[in-house]
Amino acid sequence: MIHMCTSDGDDDMYTDTAGPALSFRKGLRDGLPICLGYLSVSFAYGMMAVEGGLPVWAAVLISMTNLTSSGQVAGTSLIFAGGSLLEIGITTFVINIRYMLMSLSLSQKIETGMSTLARSILSFGNTDEVFAVAMQQRGRIPCQYLAGLILTPYFGWAVGTLLGAACTGILPASVRSALGIAIYGMFIAIIIPPARKSSAILITVILATGISCVFTFTPVLKQLSSGWVIIICAVLAAGFAAYRFPIDVEPLEEEQL
């Protein structure tokens, strides 16, 4: 891990902007709320996989190699239906295209000197939630922080799947239902404080919410997969905000995003 996190130079402008706070340990700690939310979501996934006919190890294998909720659920359903590999590939890919946007955004937030090896490994863990928490940090993100931030949720995702698959009845339904909101609570805690300070961010949030609701409730539009809806919301809302409220000076370094 230490070796992987050695940057290949070319970074003197940014190395100290992140400050000493973004350590591996802080990453592990910041990953805890994500881990908590993942436990419930992956628990549900594990149950679904075993009820559909997969053995426990297969459910855990999928979780540990994919690390994504909606893509896994869609892919697993297609496996149950005996879908072709092409069908499985295209469906899962469409759901996952949104990660390109997030990874592009993250590429401008991590330390510029981070090595290709570190980027290749860490990108595996760039889930919606890890992305959200990483982008919230002040300054450039160093490798060790991102590694910590990924590790705790990864553990939660795997363990939750195992528990859900192995002992379906371990959590009462009331607790599982309540845990379902944990991830969303975290998202709200990330978007509200900056939206309170910046009207540009508030407008971005309101626009994206509005567009997302339109795509969920309008008869024909609601057939679009959630992956596409997120991309459309992000492009329209962030595109409008960038046009209407362009940011002049080095926002990724100066402001807390």
Binding site: L54, R119, T204, T209, V229, A238
Partner: protein
């Protein structure tokens, strides 16, 4: 229903690949800072747009009933407005949902 192992492993490999590539490619390709002002601003707003779109209206179907989700949402909004941390907000929303659903069972 039986699922053959070769089919299963190929399917999982395909799923893993099409999940990994969209995450890996931009991070490995864009190593330099993008200087275009519009694109920089756009990428700055992307996280908020993505999170808002994922939260709404998804949050209302995340619990047993939309009513408990609404109470959980209210708790999360108030606490995050007051500047509480991620874990506090997430746990409070969870507790609010749990209590609401308990109350709904009693009445």
């Amino acid at each position: 229903m039986t699922i053959s192992l070769p089919y299963f492993f190929s399917a999982v490999a395909v799923m893993a690949l099409v999940t990994y590539l969209p995450r890996m490619l931009p991070l490995v390709i864009f190593k330099k800072k993008i200087s275009n002002r519009y694109i920089r601003s756009f990428l700055n707003y992307v996280p908020y747009a993505v999170l808002a779109a994922m939260t709404f209206p998804g949050i209302f179907s995340s619990t047993a009933t939309p009513v408990s989700a609404l109470v959980g949402l209210a708790a999360a909004l108030v606490l995050s407005y007051l500047g509480k941390g991620l874990l506090t907000v997430a746990l409070s929303a969870t507790a609010a949902v749990f209590l609401t659903e308990c109350l709904m069972k009693i009445f």
